[in-house]
């Protein structure tokens, strides 16, 4: 009950917020561009965590884990988009297909890895930093650094480049950019792959902190839904703010009022949905 505890709770909250950000950014962009609520996102998170864990614990190098989980989940995401979602125009059908994929992936992960929680931490990140009397785990700092780099890169990609211009234009008006001659099908695939990559990376980054178990994807998907709804579906700025907010609220609750940890997020989501159904930064969806 002191300033030190508050600061370490805050650091944990920001670290968790960056993981939430990587998870929900993909969800938000995919919804904005393709109008799909992607239920398979949580399963991609789980798969990324398992694949990264397998690679990193074999090679004992966290960089390989990050790279492999990024690439493999990106490929799986592109595959899903190309073969399951591409030629079905009805959004409800696409949502239902992602629910089926979620069931399949979760169960496959359970068959392969079972109910055990796997944790692996690289040795150079195991300790903690001491600044005066404040204790900060160094892995949290690592997450914050990686999260900053990744989210800055994603933000740059979606706001400053030509590709991002097309994506944002597509979020605003899908038919118009088709009329201007851009290949929207390829845009969909690339966006879906990038979103999946972010989910896989977030999953792997959580392994040294909370471990990985088959249902982790579903649990975090619920948080990601909360974040996306609070920030506004399809809004990049809203997602960034909402995920940091939710991360900090959740960790403050975990430190000061543990019985509120899960429920706090959903109560915030309920209040926001009730007052502003379109979310903080969202537009009204017809």
């Amino acid at each position: 009950m002191s300033l030190e505890m508050f600061i370490s709770a805050l650091v944990d909250g920001v670290a968790l917020g960056f993981i939430f950000l990587m998870l929900s950014l993909g969800l938000s962009i995919i919804f904005g561009l393709m109008r799909i609520v992607n239920f398979a996102h949580g399963s991609l998170f789980t798969l990324g965590a398992y694949i990264g864990y397998e690679i990193a614990s074999r090679t004992n190098n966290i960089i390989y884990g990050i790279l492999v989980s990024l690439l493999s989940i990106g490929v799986i995401g592109a595959f899903i988009e190309k073969y399951f979602l591409k030629y079905r125009k009805d959004p409800l059908i696409q949502v239902i297909v992602t629910i089926g994929l979620m069931i399949i992936f979760d169960r496959l992960a359970w068959i392969k890895w079972g109910d055990i929680t796997y944790i692996w931490t690289p040795q150079w990140l195991e300790g903690s930093l001491r600044i005066g009397s404040i204790i900060i785990y160094s892995y949290r700092v690592f997450i914050i650094i990686v999260g900053l780099i990744v989210s800055a890169g994603t933000y740059y990609l979606f706001t400053k480049t030509r590709f991002g211009l097309f994506v944002r234009a597509g979020i605003d008006d899908r038919e118009m950019i088709q009329a201007f001659g851009s290949n929207i099908e390829r845009l969909f695939t690339i966006t879906f792959a990038i979103g999946s990559m972010l989910a896989g990376l977030a999953g792997f980054l959580l392994v040294p902190w909370q471990g990985v178990y088959p249902l982790i994807g579903t649990n975090y998907l619920l948080y990601a839904f909360a974040i996306v709804v609070i920030g506004g579906l399809g809004s990049i700025e809203g997602t960034i703010i909402a995920s940091l907010l939710i991360g900090i609220i959740q960790q403050l609750c975990a430190y000061y009022a543990p019985y509120l940890t899960e429920i706090s997020v959903f109560i915030v989501m309920f209040i926001i949905l009730y007052l502003r159904p379109q979310g903080l930064f969202g537009k009204v969806i017809a």
Binding site: V37, F84, R88, D90, L92, I93, I96, V97, I99, G100, L101, M102, I103, I104, R107, L108, W110, I111, T218, L222, F225, A226, V229, L233, Y259, E262, I263, F266, I267, M269, F270, L273, Y274, P277, I285
Partner: protein, 408 residues
């Protein structure tokens, strides 16, 4: 013909407990019990999805609260089970009303799905806390001691209810046909009249078979040990309630209110312009759905004899409501029953041989149905049956012509 098939199926299902020992399929009875309970749940889910276009991701809230409320009455208050079931369905309807009032600003599409999911998650995470293990039973759950009444051998008498309803249905049809044939006196109505007079023989035969099935079943139960009796009794209770729910929903969707629901689903603005109160219509539907789902929850505790937050409030249960409805098909009222029965039998039966792969198989079937048979299995099943019997039946009666079939 649709009626005939359902009557034949019912008689087969009634006789099934007698065949269990002869065929050595003891497991099937518990699987089918579970399938019936899940069919009731799926009916309530697909009723909302098909007639109102409301995708309810918090649907297991109704199920779980129904189960827990029944449990509390049984454990703490000592209410006899039938009364407890009745009270918890009434409470379930109130919960449906409460949900309708809470979500009144966003009773459509994705906002509704999200806010009901939020409501479910709030209750779920409350129940999962260890601090509330007195009311939730935490991980090991609350244990329900089976009511004494379930060991009685007279329970199959409950299925006389089904019998009475079938009789009323048939007599009603006869009366309508009689009125039709007397009002316009032409050749086709004359043909119909003869068709019915032939049917009276079939009817008598059906009565005899049904009553003898009940009598044989009761005598058979009297010669069995109590645990065996209990499982067959639960089977009969869930079969009866499934049939009652099915018939009452089927009568409901022939009423004018169903047309109003469909109008609201297809074009809410136009429905309001025409003078319908769309909130009222949706609230009524939510109340009905909540009642049915909490009934299935109340039956579930008999089947499992144990209730914990993960089985009652799991968001996966809501997803499974969607799976059942989509695999079976939403717009035919039989669809969710077909879907739930098929998926349950597949998952529970296959899980003995292949373990977790049975769920993967469900997922694959689910995706295949969504992509290649968007109208659901029941639609194609019905067409196949029609072809076999080669009679020109339409899927919906004349009164239901307004039901659109092309979109899910």
């Amino acid at each position: 013909m649709r009626h005939t098939i359902s009557y034949i199926l019912l008689v087969i299902l009634m006789f099934l407990p007698l065949l269990i020992e002869a065929l050595g399929i003891t497991k099937l009875i518990s699987i089918l019990t579970y399938a019936f309970i899940m069919s009731i749940y799926a009916l309530s889910f697909s009723f909302l999805l098909g007639y109102l276009g409301l995708l309810n991701f918090g649907h297991s809230l109704f199920f779980g609260l129904g189960a827990y409320l029944t449990t509390y009455q049984l454990i703490w208050l000592g209410v006899p089970y039938p009364l407890a079931l009745l009270i918890s369905t009434v409470l379930g309807s109130l919960i449906g009303l409460a949900v309708a009032f809470i979500t009144r600003k966003m009773l459509r599409g994705i906002p509704f799905a999200f806010i009901t999911l939020t409501l479910l998650l709030i209750i779920y995470s409350l129940y999962k806390r260890r601090e509330f293990r007195i009311i939730s039973g935490s991980e090991q759950g609350l244990i329900i001691y089976l009511p004494e009444i379930l060991t009685s051998e007279m329970i199959p008498l409950i299925s006389i209810l089904i019998f009475v309803i079938i009789l009323i249905n048939i007599l009603n049809e006869m009366r309508e046909d009689f009125l039709n044939s007397s009002s316009n006196n032409n050749l086709s109505s004359f043909k119909r009249g003869t068709f019915l007079s032939k049917n009276i023989l079939v009817l008598c035969l059906f009565c005899m078979i049904y009553i003898s099935a009940i009598i044989i079943l009761i005598r058979y139960l009297a010669s069995k040990m109590p645990p065996y009796r209990v499982s067959i009794n639960i089977y009969m209770i869930s079969l009866t309630s499934l049939y009652l729910i099915y018939i009452s929903l089927k009568t409901l969707i022939k009423r004018p209110i169903a047309v109003a629901w469909i109008t609201t689903r297809d074009n809410e603005t136009r429905a309001e312009t025409l003078g319908y109160n769309s909130f009222m219509l949706k609230a009524i539907a939510l109340v009905i759905s909540g009642t049915i789902a909490s009934l299935s929850g109340g039956l579930y505790i008999l089947y499992s004899q144990n209730i914990n937050p993960d089985t009652a409030f799991s968001p996966l249960l809501s997803v499974y409501g969607l799976v059942y409805s989509i695999i079976g098909g939403v717009y035919m009222i039989e669809g969710p029953i077909v879907g739930a029965t098929l998926v349950t039998i597949l998952e529970k039966y296959l899980s003995d041989f292949v373990g977790g792969w049975s769920v993967v198989a469900t997922g694959i079937i689910f995706i295949a149905v969504v992509l290649y048979m968007p109208k659901g299995l029941s639609y194609y099943l019905w067409h196949a049956l029609n072809k076999i019997f080669s009679r020109g039946f339409s899927i919906y009666g004349v009164k239901n012509k307004l039901v659109r079939q092309e979109k899910i």
